[in-house]
């Protein structure tokens, strides 16, 4: 394997970040310039949103359930088992719903975008598209970014709801708690800040998932091996970016929104 000088390595990284920012900015700017590929957006929304629904529902339901199971023991020790609805609701809406949905969609769609666009790059289909007078950014990247942002928002809401249902199932079946009490607790504990945080995150994660997937796809080089490498990198980078962004956004919102 060829060794790269540290300065050269640093230059490559900086260039990659610069290219990523350029792609991300271009994908947003293309929303305000004609033509707008609305049909492609709808198609991508179907592929990304509806296609991801089963895994998001399963992940959300079992996460809510396991959250209730894990915390039940501790809450029981303090005689606060009735607060389980409150705990599941806050955790799911503020944190686990958006993050786990983001990670699931990243695994499914960042890789899909990177491999699809990467294959198009190495078979000259992107060049052919440009040669035919179509801007690949507008035609391929912007619809994917828009659809992912839009659909991840709703997928996170669905994930939150089925997570609460998973918690309810555990509370009722294994802990013999009252369902009405669970729902009342869960519902009443949520305040504007919780919901705002829970709905802002998927928008940011959706943007990260799509732009990272498209970036690695569009910069794929080196035939099928390069496409495979781009696919793996897209999932890893998107997942890490989601977790890192989650930390900083949470910290920022806690400071700004004066959480209790």
């Amino acid at each position: 394997m060829e060794l790269t000088a540290p300065t050269e390595f640093a230059k490559q990284r900086v260039l990659a970040v610069q290219e990523y920012i350029e792609l991300a900015a271009h994908s947003v700017a293309s929303l305000f310039r004609k033509p707008l590929y609305f049909a492609d957006m709808v198609q991508q929304a179907d592929l990304i949103g509806v296609g991801s629904l089963p895994i998001v529902v399963l992940t959300g339901f079992f996460t809510g359930g396991v959250l209730a199971l894990q915390t039940a023991n501790t809450l029981q020790r303090f005689g606060s088992i009735t607060l389980i609805g409150q705990l599941v609701a806050t955790s799911m809406v503020r944190e686990l719903g958006p993050v786990l949905t983001g990670l699931m969609v990243a695994g499914r769609n960042s890789s899909g975008m990177a491999s699809e666009l990467g294959s198009m790059v190495v078979t000259e289909q992107i060049d052919a598209m440009r040669a035919l007078g179509t801007d690949p950014m507008k035609k391929l990247v912007t619809p994917r970014v828009t659809a992912t942002v839009f659909m991840l928002f709703f997928l996170s809401i669905i994930s939150d709801l089925v997570g609460l249902a998973g918690g309810l199932m555990v509370a009722k079946v294994f802990l013999s708690l009252d369902a009405h009490q669970y729902w009342s607790n869960a519902w009443q504990t949520l305040v504007f800040q919780d919901v705002f945080m829970g709905l802002l995150k998927p928008v940011m994660f959706g943007f990260i998932i799509a732009t990272v997937g498209c970036y690695y796809g569009m910069s794929a080089r080196g035939g099928t091996q390069g496409v495979g490498r781009a696919t793996t990198q897209a999932v890893v980078v998107a997942s890490v970016c989601i977790l890192v962004t989650d930390f900083f956004v949470t910290k920022l919102l806690i400071s700004v929104l004066s959480f209790r």
Partner: protein
């Protein structure tokens, strides 16, 4: 293959005036990191003419086509295509210029998730405001030109290599562009299919008078284009009499080490004294 001979009194048809040219390259340099692909390439392609580009692998032939389309930008030099200086244009403005050009890629580059109909109609569908009936009619016309009308609903993966190239030609010519760029359209194909494609290129040249750049490794393809013309009556190639080879709007350009080592017509090529070129064409 033996080099065709041309009579000495054959007047070169090449236009010396770049102002009347579809493509003008002026001292174009391009390097990919340390690899200098083009080192001061200059040539022009007059309107209505086909120019065959030759050179060993990696000599920059395909790069010249991509530069002509504005898919790549040179490090220095000036490129003018259909009267527009592509080296000065923004990417957004290049899209409309590319609409006046057609390109046939080396491996066809058909969109594999679209059918033949959708591939060929792609440019028309992107233009919007064109009725489906009109699109369908033009797609059929274009596919009839390459004799593949029966493949409308097939996917590229269901076609042979030769058929894919012909579909790529149909896609490139559907809007009757002013300039066509062919990147090794006969590469890797059997002689029969190659001849069919050469015939299509000649038909486009002689019937529609389209200017074109043809990258090829097959000398016989270029010599066929220089020594034949397309007969509209019989819908077949017709060999030109020996004294009229220069009548075919065809020229040759040979690249060596990133520079143009030969640019001229078949007469000049046949009479060249350059050892490298003589060896190349022998």
């Amino acid at each position: 293959m033996s080099t065709p001979t041309a009579p000495a009194d054959c007047t070169p048809h090449l236009s010396p005036a770049p102002s009347g040219a579809a493509i003008v390259f002026e001292d174009v340099h391009l390097a990919f990191e340390d690899n200098h692909v083009l080192r001061g390439v200059s040539f022009h392609l007059p309107y209505g003419e086909t120019k065959a580009l030759f050179g060993v692998a990696g000599s920059g032939k395909s790069t010249i086509l991509k530069l002509s389309l504005g898919l790549l930008l040179p490090d220095s030099g000036r490129i003018t295509v259909l009267g527009n200086e592509v080296t000065e244009m923004r990417e957004e403005d290049l899209f409309s210029l590319r609409g006046r050009q057609g390109m046939v890629f080396q491996e066809s580059a058909l969109f594999d998730s679209l059918t033949v109909r959708e591939n060929v109609a792609y440019r028309l569908m992107e233009e919007h405001g064109i009725y489906d009936d009109e699109i369908d009619q033009k797609v059929r016309e274009s596919l009839r030109f390459v004799e593949l009308e029966h493949t409308l609903d097939l996917f590229p993966s269901e076609l042979s290599g030769g058929m894919r190239r012909r579909v790529a030609i149909a896609r490139a010519i559907i809007t009757q562009p002013e300039l066509l760029l062919y990147d090794s359209p006969t590469g890797g194909l059997d002689p029969v299919t190659s001849n069919t494609i050469v015939e299509l290129i000649m038909k486009q040249r002689d019937v529609y008078r389209t200017s074109s750049l043809l990258v090829t490794h097959r000398l016989q393809d270029a010599f066929t284009l220089a020594t034949h013309e397309f007969d509209r009556q019989t819908n077949q190639l017709r060999a030109l009499p020996r004294g009229q080879y220069c009548g075919a709007p065809m020229s040759f350009l040979i690249l060596r080490d990133g520079k143009v080592t030969f640019d001229g017509d078949i007469r000049e090529l046949a009479h060249t004294k350059d050892e490298y070129i003589r060896e190349y064409i022998s």
